[in-house]
Symmetry: D4
Subunit: 247 residues, 8 copies
């Protein structure tokens, strides 16, 4: 871009284009060539970190094209919500890749991200069934360069387990709390520790759980302040914002 503008100005200085013409060029330049509009929130990721791609509804052909294109650019690649059958096909082609089956995350690292020196982000789950969302969050955090610590299975029946992690939690800046069924864990953790919580409802449960709606509503209505919520099963989203807040 700078080159283009420099050239334009040089042309202007040398009189090869008129002021009027230069204005016209300028008016359209950013739109047409540079996407100058700052709608580019992947800015950070692109500068050396990698791309995160939502894989659930993409065809295998699309995914292969995307991976090849990113590999050429020497980028790390992360594909979320990737069904196992698609993952298997990708692994045959890209055998340097790795698939976390629980997390449904496919990863292809050009250069393992150096984890930053930030505090560890605790990922706390209500039940062991919620682990698949926690695993997704973990992979994303690692991909972005954050470290995390797992505190599993501390739901209503196992709350005492959380206390052995008391010191780690109290030192952390932000918590990821994952729960399905009644989704009460963020309310309880919010009550104990007074830390900001990214709550992730999961679709774990059955019946009037309505595929995670129950946990989602519980968390949105939490009586404990300091709780905000991401989409059902959205371990990616929770990890992403936690990483941002942890810096």
């Amino acid at each position: 871009m700078k080159q283009k503008l420099l050239q334009l100005f040089k042309d202007l200085e040398q009189g090869t284009i008129s002021i009027e013409k230069a204005i016209d060029h300028l008016k359209y330049l950013p739109y047409e060539d540079f996407g100058h509009i700052k709608f580019d929130f992947h800015r950070e990721l692109r500068t050396g970190i990698g791309e995160i791609i939502y894989g659930k509804d993409k065809t295998i052909e699309m995914l292969i094209k995307i991976i090849n294109s990113l590999k050429q650019k020497e980028k790390n690649i992360c594909i979320t919500k990737l069904p196992k059958t698609k993952a298997k096909k990708l692994l045959k082609i890209f055998n340097e890749g790795y698939y976390n089956e629980l997390a449904k995350v496919f990863l292809l690292y050009k250069n393992k991200p150096k984890s930053n020196k930030q505090k560890k982000i605790p990922i706390i789950t209500a039940g062991s069934s919620d682990i698949y969302v926690a695993e997704e969050a973990k992979e994303i955090l690692n991909f972005l360069g954050s470290k995390c610590i797992f505190i599993y299975d501390v739901g209503v029946a196992g709350l005492h387990r959380i206390l052995s992690y008391k010191k780690i939690i109290e030192k952390s800046k932000v918590l990821i709390v994952v729960a399905g069924m009644d989704g009460v864990l963020p309310s309880i953790i919010g009550g104990i520790f007074g830390k900001p919580i990214i709550a992730v409802p999961t679709s774990v449960g059955y019946g009037a759980n309505f595929k995670g709606l129950s946990a989602l509503l519980t968390m949105l209505n939490s009586c404990a302040p300091g709780v905000c919520v991401v989409n059902i099963d959205n371990g990616f989203g929770a990890a992403y914002i936690a990483h941002m807040l942890n810096k």
Copy 2:
């Protein structure tokens, strides 16, 4: 009924009716005269205790007719979900009545029920805003002859308050737990005390609370076993079943 049957048999013995005729009589007797079918669950109440009437959608004329009819039968009267404006009109006519405005319950006692010697039933609420449902439960329990004890405002922010009531709770047979918003209190209480809980979701809250739906779903999906649920704001229903279970 016995009289009718005895007469029938005597007629049969005396030959004043034929066997065939007697069979016909018998076939229809219970239906036509006695409602022999046991669809009469108010049995208990009618035998000296009183009638509980749902008042929300009844006209004032209906209510006056019902009260007059029950007064003649010397019964205690209890009207639930009665709007204030209707209550005021009833109180002008039946000045021996009493209206609990929070509970929206109208009461007219012929004979105050003697409270039985059963254990007190704890009514525990998450927030002070849930008191109107708790008050309804209290009035119904009293009307049925049960005693209760109030443990208010022990939601996520005030859970420690419940511990001063620890002994009473541990001695009780069944708990009524009332909560709006995220509705997590029954899950928590269920975790602490291992007592059977009648959970009452309330419509306290706003937004994604959807008039109590959030609390209702939380309770139905509770991870703590021993929790069962009644309708949103249904203090009456909770009190009724708690009274049955407390006996």
Copy 3:
């Protein structure tokens, strides 16, 4: 707090209270003064009875780990909502286990629980299609040490069948009533017998049944008092609370 503790220790040092007494004080102190809470409602189960694990969303690896760990502790094991394919894998490894396919319950008994001398709990279903939930309830009751009696298929078309069980029902303390589709059975049974009912909506049905929502709402809005409700298809929850109330 510090003052209280200091005093206690001084008393201890000065011999004004015994070590035993001090321990007792300490055991209750935190509860009463500090809001320290024992979140351990599995207390009962752990002391000799067994563990109940929700199996639907757990991986086979998690389940194997849990079973092995509990077996070492000589505990009875019960896994609910376990899909058939997972059950088959578990049975290959733990051939002393047993899988009730209808109930989707996996059981591994170290010592068959002695059924207590309590009254039998009737499990009443509307249609024969509701049997899978009833079977789950039965297995849980047995696991906890309660006895039950089956009264099947007494929906609108077969209500007369219930009357042959009239005596058993009238002697019981609490009923489990299971119904899908319109979910009217608890209202009807509630009308006939005046017993407290744990109502279990099932997902049996189609169309505007919305996977059990219809039956759930019917039960929550039941005109018969004495009805409380657990989650759709939650035979476990109904059995658990019925067992608590039956004692």
Copy 4:
């Protein structure tokens, strides 16, 4: 088509068919060959009976215009779901009118319809709170020339009352059954009498009743065959179809 018509006209010119016959042919031609459809289902009503107007969302000005226009045509007029405030205004202008406040129906009879000699249609309600819908049904039945009989307040707690009406019901061709809250009455009545039932859910209730949704779903999922359903609170619709079926 042109060919057909040309032939018809030629036949007419040549006298091979009469004008009367040609008209008959023409009357049916378009229907059979061209998909010309007569969208005029008020045919019946217009020929001497009257007009039924939905009043809830119409302005008072619209209503006055409609009434004046129909009065000129010497028709009976029936306005449903008319709020009380609007009704009062109409009564000031049309003092020969009549307003059933419970039913929210405004009526203006030019000639009282002679009730036909058909069987009476029973209108059965679960609770006295459902009376407003029953009253609407009654007014519509009368307006259309059908007679009805009221059987009120026979919900779960009062089912025995229905048995005194046993003979009338068994003689009838079709039943209107009105119920709010859990909406179980049509299932029960359907089970007892084996008569076709027009079920009307009402918005009577609160909480998880969701303004009649609960009763609506119960009725749609009724296990008793012979039940069909109209909109929540739609006494008009139930009466209209019952009248059609009763003929």
Copy 5:
């Protein structure tokens, strides 16, 4: 029953039992032995016609038991909503049976029901995709002894087709109208013919159709009077009530 009662009365006449004892017997007789309570709407079907069983959620074992039991009683058998895989298994065992795959209905006729001399019931569908529900309705009508006539695929794009059936429709007493997607057909047919309509919403469609909810709501809110509604995809229910009304 008569025999039992005659015996009782004879014993009474002969003095072999006391009046007191006879009363006792009578009080319990109907309940215990006869299901005297008139909750037996299958009365009609049982007297020579046959049994209709809901097959979707029953196990193959249950179905075999039911069929064998009914075969012994020389009854016709009809199983609805039966998945193809279960049907195949049944057909292997009961090769005299017949399975309508579109309708998902399994039939086993001992004696083909003689179709009554009633008018034919038109089954009208909006699209050819709705045929599976229409087929279910057809099989049920035949099973019950009613005749029907198919008028298929007359939705918004093919309404003219209905006119060739004009005479049949105008002679009929009641129509079954089946539609998915927008569900507008009953409103339109209701407008044209002024016949009572049993409307059946189907789950045909996608997206905001929400598995038939869209069509269901359209029909419940139909502006054409004379429309009542059964459950989504409930061809059985529509046929059953139409058969009742057609008599």
Copy 6:
């Protein structure tokens, strides 16, 4: 803008700023001073036509401030969904304004827009109760400079009325079709005329209409192609897009 850029280039030519500096200026200029990003869809309206403001949730103070600011700019003003009470207050202050009470639209014309020479846009409503949405559409069309023609009350019972408007409709480019309750009108009109339809569901109705949801779903699932949908009661949106398409 041009002035700013010209100045910049002149400075550049005169050497008063460096090329580097100019680039920097250019990079930020459009963002900071001109909102150069083309997020300005009111472009058209602002150039002489006027502003359309959503009034429902604004305070009276906000509205007064907005009106005063626009009046200074000599603009026409249009406020939609304005409650009557707020309108009254505005009319006291801005007595040159006009309020269409049915439409809930407040208008203040500096210069009446000349209606363009485009074809008239038919606004067709199912019932006279839908008029308030039609009136809103009309006011917006007029405000934007389009003409419309009203075709009212042509729902299922009055479809024949539409035919007198046949010629106008067939000449038009796009139709606005407004319907509440079952919302079938767009499907029917779509079937007759093959014109593109902007369908507007209204909240007219009750019960299972769920405040317009029923009509909305019907329209989204319309079997007639050529139907697209705007928000419930959104006469504004329909008029706006129809105006765009009519040009």
Copy 7:
């Protein structure tokens, strides 16, 4: 009516009108006076273009019959929402056909439609996962004789990409904008370009997306005027109306 027809026939007999004229009168008479309506909106398609069939819920037998019948009439054939397994079977029988697997559209062209000289219709998608809906729209546009241009993957993260298509978009008459998940793209595009938008929500996403409901509601509530909406995943509907509007 009879009078009118008699007069017409008399005029015909008396030679005051010609047979041709009489036919004309008759052709319009029923429309104007009797509400006879031609429900045949496929008029256009049938006259030489082809038939579009909804394939999702049709059996393979139905589809074969339909195709054979249309082939005989020398028509082009288009089947939408056709599952892959059915498509494979059709291709074996009709090997001149073509199946777009992404679009789930089956095509059988007798004569490729000449694309008209209208402007190209841009199909803009938020993510590459939305391509299957875009492909359906493309096939339909081609089938109807419209050309389109693809602008893919310009969601929140790639908005700058749209600007390279700025000229094409500004020259177009109407846009198809496809988006899943949050469904914000139509609002943003609506803000930038001020063109009428047919918005298509897709079911791409998970959790609180509720199979496209989220995107649907976003689009219906769009703050950008000029947005109208079709059913979730309804690429066909969007293409059809866009084609109509593009002419």
Copy 8:
């Protein structure tokens, strides 16, 4: 446990640990070994800052009692969601209080909180109608001691306005973004600035907005990472967590 305590006491008696040390051990013992938990997340607020009370569903009597009690403790008081009528009554009694009518927040400051030296938190709203939620957020931030900056009315039509605040935003740590209707603003802002966003859906809108549900779902499904969500209209919750994260 007993063993551990006995040992501790013995150590104490034997002087091997000091009383101070023993207290420390005891303070942590219950946490680590017994699952004793301190449910007191208001810790912070109570220590000098003030109390935030949810006012919507509390009676005026409750509120007066709470205020008096807190005034005695010299605390600042903040009551949210307080209806105007209740606020007026409180102001008569506590004339040192202040009521922000837009925000529905009642404040009574003993000592104005000193705003901390943290960065200002931008509160960005889509439309001026969303101001009431923004005002609530502002009052809570001030109450907690944070400063904020308002960026109003930057919805789809006014996005350019945000760019004048570009520097402030880029310097901030966390954003509060408030939007009703389609709720797209957080997605757009998330795309431009790459800052963590607390998104607040509002109930501003009508029709298919379903009282904020539309905006809520949009935000939960946001394609822009870095967005988390609080309850509809929950300005308090957003402010609280933003304050925590800003520190």
